[in-house]
Symmetry: C2
Subunit: 241 residues, 2 copies
Amino acid sequence: MTYQPAESGLALWRRVADAIESGIAGGKYQAGTRLPGELEIAEQFGVHRHTVRRALATLAERGLVRAERGSGTYVEAQRIAYPIRSRTRFSEIIGTSGREADGRLIDSSVEPAGADLAKKLGLKANAPVVRIDMLRQANRVPICVGTSWLPAERFPAADRIYKTTRSMTKTLAHFEVTDYRRAVTRVGAALVDAADCAALDLRPGSPILLVESVDHDLNGDPILTTRARFAAERIEFVIES
Amino acid sequence: MTYQPAESGLALWRRVADAIESGIAGGKYQAGTRLPGELEIAEQFGVHRHTVRRALATLAERGLVRAERGSGTYVEAQRIAYPIRSRTRFSEIIGTSGREADGRLIDSSVEPAGADLAKKLGLKANAPVVRIDMLRQANRVPICVGTSWLPAERFPAADRIYKTTRSMTKTLAHFEVTDYRRAVTRVGAALVDAADCAALDLRPGSPILLVESVDHDLNGDPILTTRARFAAERIEFVIES
DNA sequence: CAAAGATGTCTATGTCGATAGACAACTCGC
DNA sequence: GCGAGTTGTCTATCGACATAGACATCTTTG
């Protein structure tokens, strides 16, 4: 065989890399253990050793594996557990895992709410909302990018507060909302697009977790809805019922 | 420019296809609406129109969009909402959405539990468990493949029951477990591997949702743990807190 | 120390991916 | 009915992808 991309649009080395990465994510190759040799992997996938080398090179560059000359290639990585429950706070979760949480404001504005947004926040159509685009990191590693919307009437200039506090919890506290609850979370998966690719420091074709959420205050009134994209290779959601 | 895969291992047309698919999943292009013209998309991504055409062709083949000659290309798809709560039943969820649920047994056996598995099911190390590999469909469209494990002592020959009932709920009912609860669910995302690619009828490089779950009976004793891979393009999880 | 086995690097060759340009066929609005 | 704008199809060119084989360099084991 020479070159048979089989209509998938994925380079062969990329398919091999993805398969190994899946193996690591799925527990087939555990952290610290040694991967099979390059020749063995090549035989397993029915490809040339050079193709395997290219796959491993990209995994090594991303810090997922580490090649040791003369010895073998070893698994490095581990995902952060991200619990989703009624009390879900980015900075708390990251902090509890022993990492330093950070939120950067990318852009913001006040806009009229579309139909979908107004319904989620319990507002009249075209009521003003504050839009906050942000990038969240753990130990300087980007975890997710996303957009939050808050009712502008109740939370005027929430974006300016967020810019200085770098935390949504602290921003809400500014408006006397000392506690709030996650009401609903929707989780899907997709492939990263070009813009997020740069923001999250991912490769094109990496999987991302799409999250859409609504938070209520203690009276049950919606105060915040968010659409975020998480780097799937760095995060795993945990839901306890 | 000629050919610049930019180290990603993804064909350019594939990156464009993924971006458009993300746009559909993320709500940028809503169902029924018209996509921008081929030339416009080409300009937007800085690629040739042929490249865009190839991207759209694959999306059309998968039923995500529909091209109308002389007029434009239109969005078709919509994902199934899959609620995750303490009462989570595949057949119920699919049935409620107006689709026909089906479960096919792929393989099964009785094995000693590994350390991880024994802990999840509250068993002693190496206690026997029934392993059930299955493929689940909605209207004959594959939704997920996965493996369930049950304590073999309490649920002997559970695999044979599953084979005939094609439902885990009915299988448990055979053993006088009329009700049970989801205790914990872990959700991640990855890229599909070769085996699941065939089973789920996906293209290589498609994103999948990884789900690991544990169910308890009403006494709080673990009775069932599952590791499943869902086709992300057909499903979206909903968590209400 | 020596041999086996692992990763690292080089050269060469055939096929596919992406571009470029041109034209056909169809839809819609005026 | 006509023209602008859209999707559908063709030919040609050039660089990247995958293969093939050979050899260097390092680690581990006996």
